[in-house]
């Protein structure tokens, strides 16, 4: 029922080279293991004396722990160890601390106040899973329930319960300045004023479980030489290893992580919880310990793709061009940050979708609520807003009485257009995808649309960074003091105008190979191919054909068409430095810690 074809007539002149192995439908390296049941997933390692870990979890959305009595549980048959918050050497973390983004806000085992149903406060290690489950049931916890908030807009109100003490405003804090991530490009208010019609929509992405067939888990095993081996389902081996070393305050050299064969992930195996938990269990018991989520935990305690709420306002002119678009977006982060703070930045860089719109503004919030923390899932930061944008495009097409494909092609971004995040578009192919689908679905589009190309019609006026209205609305803490509207430019504060062409940085290209031997051969005309030390000794002429000398920026082919040249990436990328902030807010920024 599925058909699959290549449409090689598109961009044919951009693909060169005779390739030997690339492009072949070679069968998977791991397939024999899969069909014989021998692929070694983390749980396919057997250890004598394996112990099992289960967690005591909060039954409440938001509650203070008054007392915990595990004396009965500790005496039960098979129970080897009760693990509590005091057993975690550094019991506060935020996942993205590994790249220096955000404040520590989440304990591994929560000592005093829980902020979502299912939050772990204790763990039991027992000789069998059944014994561990029974002991969990025997732990007596006295709770004092607290008011909770589950709705992202409610959470931003001044009197909302504080979900996460690290962020008392119930939002992640961006650059030590704002309670949201801003995007400002042009002047949306002026754009709306000039538009022939305004189209508005509001869209919700549901929380979704990654649902890999293999649930999250890890087995930690004391090894020789005072090390702990950890067999894990992680999607990011060193991320989990480093998180474990940090939380347990131990040298990463004592950790040996083994994984790489994983029964599906889809984003749900990045959070690095099962690894530190199982390693802690192994350290405390001296025995192999497995910590695995059952399916119910995977669905309700394992972090989902978070819910999102997007409000979009478009101004459209009489020809069907979108002249202004604004967004107010809310990512429901749940009780802790995990990765939602970064999803907000990624979504912001994605706005306004694959369209060239001269005036764009957005405020996007990472909001804390009393629900299971959200994390990554396939399409992280993008899936929800793409749903919103493309439903909004359908509204726009109907409002303008246009065929929805024509409407998109008319507004599509093309090579050389300035995007709202202030970098030029290149290597675009949206128009061609639209044309091919129209063709396949026998969906009749206008003759104008059929002749458009991503290679033509971009740039020119559209290559400029417009004069841009900026504001300082939504400073951290403002919303605790009074109800502040969330939409861009809506709070009535002081506005400033950045002049046309304002840019603070330039495009980033890959760091060059550190050693000429990694570079292979290259045509002499390619300046980037010359090693920086100017060495000219004969190097073997080999390697992937010119097209695939991908580590270096290729000089652009001369273009006959009239459009602004896309700035070629610098010949020596190593001389470039990432954009540095000039002002006092520089400290935190994306805050990549350089070590």
């Amino acid at each position: 029922m599925t058909s699959f074809e290549f449409r090689r007539e598109f961009f044919a002149d951009e693909r060169q080279g005779q390739l030997n192995e690339i492009g072949k439908p070679t069968i998977r390296q791991d397939i024999l293991g899969h069909v014989t049941g021998r692929s070694p997933y983390y749980d396919d390692h057997l250890f004598d004396g394996l112990l099992h870990m289960r967690c005591v979890r909060s039954p409440h959305h938001h509650a203070r722990i008054v007392s915990v009595d595990f004396s009965e549980a500790a005496r039960m048959e098979g129970v080897r160890r009760v693990v509590g918050p005091d057993d975690v050497p550094k019991n506060l973390n935020t996942l993205l601390s590994l790249i220096g983004f955000g404040k520590e806000d989440e304990p591994l085992l929560t000592p005093s106040k829980v902020a979502y149903r299912g939050e772990p406060i204790l763990a039991i290690v027992a000789e069998s899973e059944r014994q561990a489950r029974a002991a969990v049931q025997a732990v007596r916890v006295e709770w004092e329930e607290l008011p909770h908030v589950l709705d992202v807009e409610e959470a931003l109100k001044p009197n909302a319960p504080v979900v996460n003490a690290t962020y008392p405003g119930n939002t992640f804090e961006y650059y030590d300045k704002y309670d949201h991530q801003k995007l400002r490009f042009g002047d949306v208010e002026q754009g709306f004023a000039k538009a022939d019609q305004i189209v508005e929509g509001s869209y919700r992405m549901s929380p979704i479980e990654q649902a890999p067939m293999e649930t999250c888990g890890a087995i930690a095993v004391p090894e020789t030489n005072d090390r702990i081996a950890c067999y894990t389902s992680t999607q990011a081996l060193f991320f989990s290893l480093a998180t474990t070393a940090k939380l347990l305050d131990m040298s990463s050299a004592r950790l040996h992580f083994v994984g790489g064969t994983v029964g599906g992930g889809f984003g749900g195996k990045v959070d690095s919880i099962v690894e530190p938990m199982s390693v802690l269990g192994a350290l405390l018991t001296g025995a192999p310990v497995k910590f695995m989520w059952d399916r119910e935990e995977e669905m309700q305690v394992g972090a989902p793709r978070g819910a999102e709420l997007w409000k979009i306002k478009d101004g459209i002119d009489s020809r069907g061009r979108i002249v202004a678009r604004s967004f107010t977006g809310y990512f429901d982060s749940g009780a802790y940050t995990r990765l939602s703070s970064y999803a907000v930045v990624k979504a912001t860089g994605h706005l306004p979708g694959p369209y060239s719109i001269p005036n764009v503004a957005s405020n996007v919030f990472c909001v804390f609520t009393n629900r299971t923390p959200a994390t990554a899932m396939r399409g992280f930061g993008i899936t929800g807003v793409d749903f919103a944008i493309e439903c909004q495009m359908d509204r726009g097409a109907r409002a303008t009485n246009m065929n929805p494909i024509d409407f998109r092609i008319l507004n599509a971004y093309r090579d050389g257009d300035m995007k709202a995040h202030r970098r030029l578009a290149k290597n675009t192919a949206l128009i061609e995808c639209c044309q091919v689908v129209a063709d396949k679905a026998r969906w009749i589009i206008g003759s104008q649309s059929r002749t458009q190309s991503s290679l033509r019609g971009g740039g020119g006026e559209k290559a400029h960074v417009p004069a841009t209205v900026i504001d300082e609305e939504g400073r951290i803490g403002d919303r605790r003091r009074s109800d502040v509207p969330t939409a861009p430019h809506s709070a009535g504060g002081r506005k400033r105008r950045l002049p046309e062409g304002s840019l603070r940085g330039e495009d980033v290209v890959a760091a060059p190979p550190q050693n000429p031997d990694m570079l292979g051969d290259a045509p002499a005309s390619d300046p980037a191919a010359s090693p920086e030390n100017g060495r000219t000794l004969a190097r073997p002429r080999f390697g992937p054909p010119a097209e695939v000398q991908v580590d270096r920026p290729r000089p652009r082919r001369p273009q006959a068409r009239e459009r602004p040249a896309i700035p070629a990436a610098p010949a020596r990328p190593s001389t470039r430095r990432p954009l540095r902030r000039r002002t006092s807010v520089s400290r935190h920024v994306s805050g990549f810690r350089r070590r």
Partner: protein
């Protein structure tokens, strides 16, 4: 009761690699004594085909058959650092690291071969079948196996390589959101045809037509796997899945696959896929990661098709029969 047909359209682009960069991946390549190559990574194969695509990339770069290359993933004692398998970064970041490592190993291999053949290494080429020959003099050849033996046992030379690929971190302007998110984007467009039952609110997907631009399909079958499976997941997100059916209320939470719904093998719709290839300049052999973006166009395309069919805008996912029936009632039908 009536069945209503409708069609919906959506198109998207998708950023390749971790947003703002700063996400390195490394690779090591070395040869066995008889000239087979081991690629050592700490990258994870979640089913997307990391082991397989990096194997083909290594083989292509080395100039040897894919059967002479084996990829070992994810042992922190042997595999060099990789940020992880997420953000559609595997093919782009790890693939590039493997190219660099394999290129360095190839350089050693050709220099060792040059010594054996007493020619300039610059005059050598690989035949992709395990042999190395002098360009323009095809009778002067040596096998990779013999080169490896000579390199190790005669010349005292390793045939090995290291590679790292990093898009340096970009920062974000707090006032304007100016940033360099990624270096390339994949693209997709999709038309979905549905049939909606106005009595039950059930949606049946009749047909999907799609076009995906993936840079270069490094292995067309692996790309097809992603696109077919990804569209299924998109359909599942659009019509079935949620961990909180009455969000933001936390009631009726699914805890098993009887209550967390996904389409089964009987709910699969015919899907006609076209692949376009516009290589990205900094991607390995031009290939962009197709793994994440493939699900995205399905959600809005289905929603737009439902509106086309019955005039109900389901702006809250998932599009359940309940929401459609409530929408029909609100519309007065």
């Amino acid at each position: 009761m009536a069945l209503h047909r409708g069609r919906g359209f959506a198109c998207v682009n998708y950023p390749i690699g971790m947003n703002l960069g700063g996400d390195p991946s490394q690779a090591l390549v070395h040869s066995t004594p008889d000239g087979k190559f081991m690629v050592t990574l700490s990258s994870i194969d979640l089913g997307q085909g990391m082991k397989s695509v990096t194997r083909q990339i290594a083989a292509e770069t080395l100039g040897v058959p894919v059967s002479d290359v084996y990829v070992d993933t994810a042992d922190s004692d042997t595999g060099p650092h990789c940020m992880g398998s997420f953000a559609s970064r595997g093919t782009h970041r790890v693939g590039n690291a493997v190219i660099r490592a394999a290129t360095e190993a190839r350089t050693q291999m050709l220099q060792a071969a040059a010594e054996e053949l007493e020619v300039d290494a610059a005059d050598l080429e690989t035949d992709g079948e395990g042999g190395i020959r002098v360009r323009g003099a095809p009778q002067r050849t040596i096998s990779v196996a013999d080169v490896a033996v000579a390199a190790q046992f005669k010349q005292g030379r390793t045939l090995s390589g290291r590679g790292i690929f990093l898009v340096p971190p970009s920062e974000v302007d707090p006032e304007t959101g100016e940033m360099s998110p990624v270096t390339c984007f994949a693209h997709a467009a999709m038309a979905v045809e549905v049939e909606v039952d106005d009595e039950t609110g059930m949606v049946r997907v009749i047909e999907i037509n799609s076009a995906y631009e993936v840079g270069r399909a490094l292995n067309p079958k692996l790309v097809e796997q992603q696109l077919v499976g990804g569209a299924w997941m998109g359909l599942s997100h659009a019509l079935y899945e949620t961990t909180e059916p009455y969000y933001p209320d936390r009631d009726h939470l699914p805890v098993d696959f009887n209550t967390y719904l996904m389409p089964g093998p009987g709910d699969v719709a015919p899907h006609n896929i076209a692949v376009l290839e516009r290589p990205a300049e900094d991607a390995p052999f031009g290939g962009k990661g197709p793994g994440e973006m493939c699900a995205n166009p399905v959600l809005p395309a289905v929603a737009n098709a439902v509106f086309d069919a019955v005039g109900v805008r389901c702006d809250d996912l998932p599009i359940t029969p309940e929401k459609i029936l409530r929408g029909l009632r609100a519309n007065g039908s």
